[in-house]
């Protein structure tokens, strides 16, 4: 089985625990072998690259150097912010001079460049939505209307990220559709939610996240589905602040795509951390179960009507 060097990222141990636990559970169920990078450290996130690119690359590169000993096919991470830092470091270190400078800051230098991918990319490319659809022929998420939200940096800039489309990514749409969900054409897929300004400038986050929630609600979504811990936190934890900024009350659950994938695969809710979401996910799941029941009823009724017609004809 192909082995991947897994980089969970700091938020995976805190505010996005449920993303980490659902990612691990889903990968296990789909045969994607994750091995944690031993003693991984913080990639520096946004703060490091706002200070200096050498510092930021070195913080990311310490982890790339550790992963080299693992003989893995790629370094993979669920978090787009970590992904950007790791990928930008690899990209910049293709310049020999810069690589030497980075290595001077490290105890263990980076020798080779291991490919870096998001978990989403691995699920989309190595497993594939067709295989997922085949595994789950009875479409467990039928009736669930989703606004897919990728966040701004998972696919941009395209020269560095090299995955999916930078204006209209579809990897997550396809996975969700494979499970039977109705994926809405969400126009703000790659717009920024306010990023890491939640603490110092929550007014900005409330406004930008408010716009996203408004657009999703306007499409009639039951929920937003995302692949980014920061986006999830801004839209879910700060939904009250966003509601206030927009002058209306939103009640939109914000799932990680791995939680929905896990739910469809029959992974226990406790492992998926559904209870860790702030906006109660029941709202969306009840709507989905109601739609499924209604559909079954409709089908039963039309079947019964057919039988009656047949009986009459006979």
């Amino acid at each position: 089985m192909t082995k991947y060097a897994y980089y969970p990222g700091c938020s995976g141990q805190g505010t996005s625990q449920e993303y980490d636990s659902s990612t691990r559970a889903v990968c296990r169920a789909l045969g994607v072998n994750l091995v944690d990078i031993p003693d991984w450290s913080c990639c520096g996130s946004t703060p490091a690259h706002t200070v200096d690119h050498l510092l930021s690359s070195a913080l990311a590169a310490r982890n790339l150097a550790l992963a080299e000993d693992m003989d893995a096919a790629a370094v993979i991470t669920p978090c787009p912010s970590c992904l950007t830092n790791l990928k930008a470091a690899v990209h910049r270190m293709s310049d020999r001079e810069f690589r030497l400078q980075v290595n001077k800051l490290l105890d263990k230098p980076v020798d080779r460049s291991t490919p870096v991918k998001s978990v989403l990319q691995v699920l989309a490319e190595d497993v594939g939505s067709d295989a997922v659809a085949e595994m789950l022929p009875n479409k467990p998420l039928a009736g669930l209307k989703l606004a897919p939200y990728y966040g701004c940096i998972m696919n941009r800039p395209p020269e560095v990220m090299q995955f999916d489309d930078h204006e209209n990514p579809t990897a997550m749409d396809k996975l969700m559709a494979a499970l039977g969900a109705e994926v809405l054409p969400f126009p703000l897929k790659v717009e920024c939610c306010g990023a890491s300004f939640g603490i110092p400038r929550k007014d900005i986050v409330a406004k930008l996240s408010g716009k996203l929630l408004e657009a999703a609600a306007g499409l009639g979504a039951h929920a937003v589905v995302t692949a980014c811990p920061l986006c999830q936190m801004n839209l879910d934890l700060r939904q009250g602040q966003a509601s206030a900024a927009m002058g209306r009350k939103f009640q939109l659950p914000v799932f990680y795509y791995t939680q929905l994938l896990g739910l469809a695969l029959g992974i226990p809710q406790s492992e998926l951390g559904l209870s860790k979401l702030c906006v109660n996910p029941r709202l969306a799941l009840d709507a989905m179960y109601a739609a499924q029941a209604e559909k079954r009823e409709r089908e039963a009724k039309s079947e019964a009507d057919k039988q009656t017609l047949k009986a009459k004809a006979a």
Binding site: C10, S11, Q13, G14, T15, S16, Q17, D39, W40, S41, C42, G44, S45, T46, P47, A48, H49, T50, V51, D52, H53, L54, L55, A58, L59, R62, Q101, K104, L105, L106, D107, C152, I153, R156, P157, P158, H166, E167, V190, E191, C192, G194, A195, S196, F197, G198, I199, P200, R201, K202, I204, K207, L208, L237, R238, G240, Q241, S275, K276, C278
Partner: protein, 185 residues
């Protein structure tokens, strides 16, 4: 309208420095405004990103290093992705922020404090310690009331640890910071 006398105040050295650090050609910008059109932060900026580019071409160092926009740019990469001249605009914003820091400007003080506190946490523990980060940020800025409404929402979820996740190699991480500072001297 503010009129800039570009002959008197154009700092050519500044332009050259931004070009070198960002590896971008500032003169390629032809002011199409695509970057500003896609920038989600324009409403909060004091100078829209395309005007940052224009002022940069005109070598307006102080005006740029003291603006708010460079602290509020979220590096969302929309400008970089959409620039018809393939200028990595987000990288230029980053570089301006680096220079502003080095020269002692911090127009959005709380943003800078938040980032600094985050990095202090990484330097100390090897990974960021979210609860400690919040506590230190509040202590430094005195903004106790910030996000009071969120406490009851997040605390019962048991996601925020009250203890840092120390790693074995935390000294190695601290060394990275130390060696980096040495390169800056």
């Amino acid at each position: 309208m503010e009129v800039v006398d570009i002959h008197a105040s154009c700092d050519h050295e500044f332009i050259a420095q931004v070009e070198a650090e960002s590896e971008q050609k500032v003169r390629l910008c032809y002011q199409c405004g695509n970057c500003t059109a896609g920038c989600p932060y324009t409403f909060a900026y004091d100078i829209p990103v395309s005007q940052v580019m224009r002022l940069l071409q005109a070598g307006q160092k102080v005006r740029l290093l003291s603006c708010k926009s460079i602290w509020l740019c979220a590096t969302c990469e929309s400008c970089t992705t959409r620039c018809p001249n393939e200028i990595d605009v987000a990288r230029i914003m980053d570089v301006l922020r680096h220079m502003a820091r080095r020269e002692g400007y911090a127009t959005e003080k709380n943003v800078k404090t938040f980032w600094d506190t985050f990095l202090d946490s990484v330097e100390k523990h090897g990974r960021v310690f979210e609860m400690g980060l919040l506590a230190t940020y509040v202590a430094k800025t005195g903004r106790f009331w910030t996000d009071m409404d969120l406490g009851p929402k997040i605390l019962p979820k048991g996601k925020l640890s009250f203890k840092p996740h120390e790693i074995q190699g935390k000294d190695k991480v601290a060394e990275i910071f130390k060696r980096f500072r040495e390169t800056q001297q």
